[in-house]
Symmetry: C2
Subunit: 180 residues, 2 copies
DNA sequence: ATGTGAAAAACTTTCGAAAGTATGGCGATA
DNA sequence: TATCGCCATACTTTCGAAAGTTTTTCACAT
């Protein structure tokens, strides 16, 4: 490839916040920081809490079906890469993303949904880092099921509580590990 | 200029949502629609309401000063372009943006602030369109002062109410005008 | 008149090189 | 030894053209 398409790709990453750019100084991987992570998780919890509440209010049985379906396929996949423990299981990552998307998909606001998507992409770097460190000690599968069940039972406060603690747990672990 | 920097600029506009891109079909101005405007205003009111409440809670006297300063310079400028009525007064537009930024600047979340900035950019096309149609009938200056005063008096509910109706009024006018 | 398909035209994307800009090294000077 | 300025080098950005893709045109057959 020549530089043109590479620059184009980098420009997109700058837009998401994963990469930073400075004129005549090129592109850099956006730095990770505790402050960034805090902002990220707080904002994400706030946005997705709203979106989940809306989805629970708006969603029909088709939505319930999509939530259950995405949970089902997620539960059937191992989080670890079967071939190489040091690599991620990209299939699981994709399903995981799909599951969280399904939950909030009926919130009724494309802009909010796009923002949540963006926040998820930003958070993924931290989550994957946490995955390496804690080595899958936490039982994410149980948490996912709890969120889905509460959502389908239209218990918004319980669903939001489950979702929030799901997001906060990973961040908390990282923040404490790197507290120094 | 050659195509490279133009494409780079377009890529940025795609990121904000002002321009859409399709592979091998180039770039297009993102279409305007009633549904988009509704989503935009609702999301914006929700985000800025939260951000304003936080700012009112966090902001110190320096923040109050910045809000008053930006209101002051805004009030000293005419909204219309003195040279040509059919053009915008870009100086006023800049100050207007600064004023709304100052209000929410102490919300404590860079991500939320960036999202609000993005929403403002998206909304600007509709607001400017509304400006042409209603020809400055509404008294925006009064509304701005009401928001600023309530914010500085730390009256969050009143400030949020003033800000929300400020945003909703413009959108409502457009939606009714194009109701057909 | 209507539809089909090939050729031409217009447009989008990618390329390799040129131009422009920052960085690091080195010698001269204080 | 430290500082400054210059030059060489490495890197970033921009350029004009080539390659690739979509759209339009037009002749031809139905």
């Amino acid at each position: 490839m020549s530089v043109s398409p590479v620059r184009e790709a980098l420009a997109r990453l700058v837009a998401t916040g994963l990469v930073t750019a400075e004129h005549n100084l090129g592109y850099r991987v956006a730095p990770l920081s505790a402050d960034d992570l805090k902002d990220l998780v707080d904002t994400r919890v706030r946005e997705e809490a709203w979106a989940l509440r809306q989805s629970i209010g708006n969603g029909d049985e088709m939505w319930e079906g999509r939530v259950l379906a995405s949970l089902h396929v997620l539960e059937r996949l191992p989080r670890e890469n079967p071939d190489d423990q040091t690599l991620y299981n990209e299939a699981w990552e994709k399903r995981h993303s799909d599951f969280h998307h399904a939950l909030i998909s009926e919130c009724g606001s494309k802009l909010t949904l796009a923002f949540c998507e963006n926040l998820r992409d930003l958070n993924d770097r931290y989550r994957r880092l946490s995955l390496v460190l804690e080595g899958g000690a936490r039982n994410a599968a149980t948490e996912h099921r709890a969120i889905a069940v509460a959502a389908i039972e239209r218990d918004a406060p319980r669903a939001i509580e489950a979702l929030s603690s799901h997001y906060l747990a990973t961040a908390q672990y990282l923040l404490e590990t790197y507290a120094e």
